[in-house]
């Protein structure tokens, strides 16, 4: 219970100060993100463009994201199997599980799953790594060697991310389908042939293409945001922790917004209905 005016005043002051600090921090982050978008495209077309660094980052993102995405895909397959098996049995529509599960997995579920897990696993790694480079003066050291850190650090990570997330999406699609098939068989005794024989009925090539375009967009933005959170942060360990949290929060929101906008565009352009 707040029983003195002084105590009430102190709490009011702390809350106001904390609100102002939070607003200030978020405005710095927003400016950082905007700056990195501009700098990224400026330096993308300047030499030197080191392919080897892009390959290194591609391999690194693939390896870092692989296990997380495999586990996520297996669990998601189990989830779809349970839901599809239970309601399919309840309403006698078990024969439709194959095509609907496949369509759902490729059109939406794995994009969301891979985007979120990638933001957690690879995005945060970028933020912490680049943030600790900034903290220990390594970015300044690069600038002093006439090396632009955006070229050396950011561009290879972003390009590597876009390429690796495409592959991870393909892997996730495959694992999710296998997992759904196996667990439908295990839990509801649905024969794999029932699922696989007509699994691709609802799929058109456009469905697959749009899923890869959407994940490439997600990969681009989440890796660039994660780099920005590390690149433009100031301070010590506490601030780096805050920057990492911001990186995840911003990227989750970005994934949802990109999913929403691309979905609206796909529907408005008739792509979604065509795919069906």
């Amino acid at each position: 219970m707040i029983d003195t005016i002084a105590e009430k005043y102190r709490i009011y002051h702390v809350v106001t100060e904390s609100r102002e600090n939070t607003l200030k921090e978020w405005s710095v982050t927003a400016r950082g993100i905007l700056r990195i978008y501009l700098n990224f495209f400026y330096w993308l077309f300047h030499r030197p463009f080191k392919i080897i660094q892009i390959v290194e980052q591609f391999m690194r993102c693939l390896i870092e994201g692989f296990v997380t995405i495999i586990i996520g895909s297996v669990v998601m397959g189990m989830f779809i199997a349970w839901l599809g098996g239970y309601f399919g049995s309840l309403y006698g529509s078990i024969n439709l599980i194959g095509p609907t599960a496949t369509f759902g997995i490729i059109h939406e579920f794995t994009i969301l799953l891979v985007g979120m897990l990638y933001a957690c696993r690879v995005g945060t790694a970028f933020t912490v790594e680049i943030g600790s480079m900034a903290m220990s003066g390594q970015l300044d050291a690069q600038r002093m060697m006439a090396v632009e850190p955006i070229q050396l650090i950011v561009i290879p990570r972003v390009v590597g991310s876009v390429l690796s997330i495409l592959l991870l999406l393909g892997i996730s699609n495959g694992i999710s389908l296998i997992s759904t098939t196996l667990f439908l068989n295990l839990w509801f005794q649905v024969a794999p042939s029932t699922i696989l024989d007509n699994a691709f009925t609802f799929l058109k090539s456009g469905t697959v293409t749009q899923s890869f375009v959407r994940i490439a967009l997600i990969g681009f933005f989440i890796s660039l945001n994660a780099c920005a959170a590390g690149f433009y942060f100031n301070g010590g360990a506490i601030e780096l922790g805050k920057a990492t949290t911001k990186s995840i929060v911003i990227n989750f929101i970005y994934v949802l917004i990109i999913m929403l906008i691309t979905q609206i565009l796909l529907t408005l352009t008739g792509f979604f209905t065509d795919a069906l």
Partner: protein, 251 residues
């Protein structure tokens, strides 16, 4: 020559540099001393334009770095080597890769020449035997030495040191001090050192400036800076003695 003219820098309401003007002649070893947190590192970062000064002009060999385009800035920075606080070595690279990095990145020489050059500078700082070690395996003093070799590898005209001995034990600090002097004598480089280590200033400095309240209040030669009557002496040594005495009385 580095010419700093009327440089101001503030962070929000905190005025850090207030009308700094300074000339650093070629082949000089210029030391700026001042308390911790007074803005010494900010001044170095303004000189190299790692951060932008609010107002003022900084010339590096008659080129205004404050107005340089992105490409010109990269070119001007070729002339400047910098030893940052704690060394700022790249964690993912070993000692050889750290020192060779600028040469490899800019493809300045074939690999066998780069190897020779790296070993020449690592020999100079007595770190050749640690060529395969990673920064995490090195002591603070060793990191500074490697950082010094990396700053030297581009053969810069100017070498800037940001607190090169801070946090080092007396022996390691002594080694770094000797190295700065050795490099100066062997390579005739213009050096600018910012430090609060008065022993370092005394050992390597030819001109010593005092940074106080955001501005340069005194510039003295080595001969006059450490006389008991000098402002710098009073600021650092007698102030320290006064604090000791006050504390002794309190205890």
């Amino acid at each position: 020559m580095i010419r700093i003219s009327n440089v101001h820098k503030s962070f929000e309401t905190n005025k850090v540099l207030d009308n700094i003007s300074l000339d650093i002649e070629d082949a000089d070893t210029f030391v700026i001393v001042g308390k911790s947190g007074i803005g010494k590192s900010v001044l170095l970062k303004c000189i190299t334009r790692l951060i932008d000064a609010d107002t003022g002009i900084i010339y590096i060999d008659d080129e205004d770095i404050t107005a340089a385009s992105r490409n010109d800035l990269l070119r001007i920075r070729w002339k400047i080597g910098m030893v940052l606080q704690e060394g700022a070595l790249f964690d993912s690279m070993n000692v050889f890769e750290n020192v060779a990095f600028p040469l490899i990145y800019h493809k300045l020489a074939p690999m066998n020449e780069i190897r020779k050059k790296v070993f020449r500078f690592l020999d100079l700082v007595e770190m050749s035997e640690f060529v395969h070690s990673f920064p995490a395996e090195l002591s603070g003093g060793m990191k500074r030495k490697v950082s010094l070799a990396r700053a030297m590898i581009m053969e810069p005209k100017y070498l800037l040191y940001d607190e090169p001995t801070s946090g080092l034990d007396p022996e390691s600090a002594g080694i770094v001090e000797s190295l700065i002097l050795k490099l100066k004598q062997e390579l005739k480089i213009t050096s600018l050192i910012v430090t609060h280590d008065i022993d370092l200033a005394k050992y390597v400095g030819e001109k010593i400036a005092l940074l106080e309240n955001g501005t340069i209040t005194t510039i003295m030669t080595k001969e006059t800076a450490f006389l008991p009557t000098s402002v710098i002496y009073k600021h650092f040594i007698s102030n320290r003695e006064r604090v000791h005495k006050n504390n002794e009385n309190q205890f």
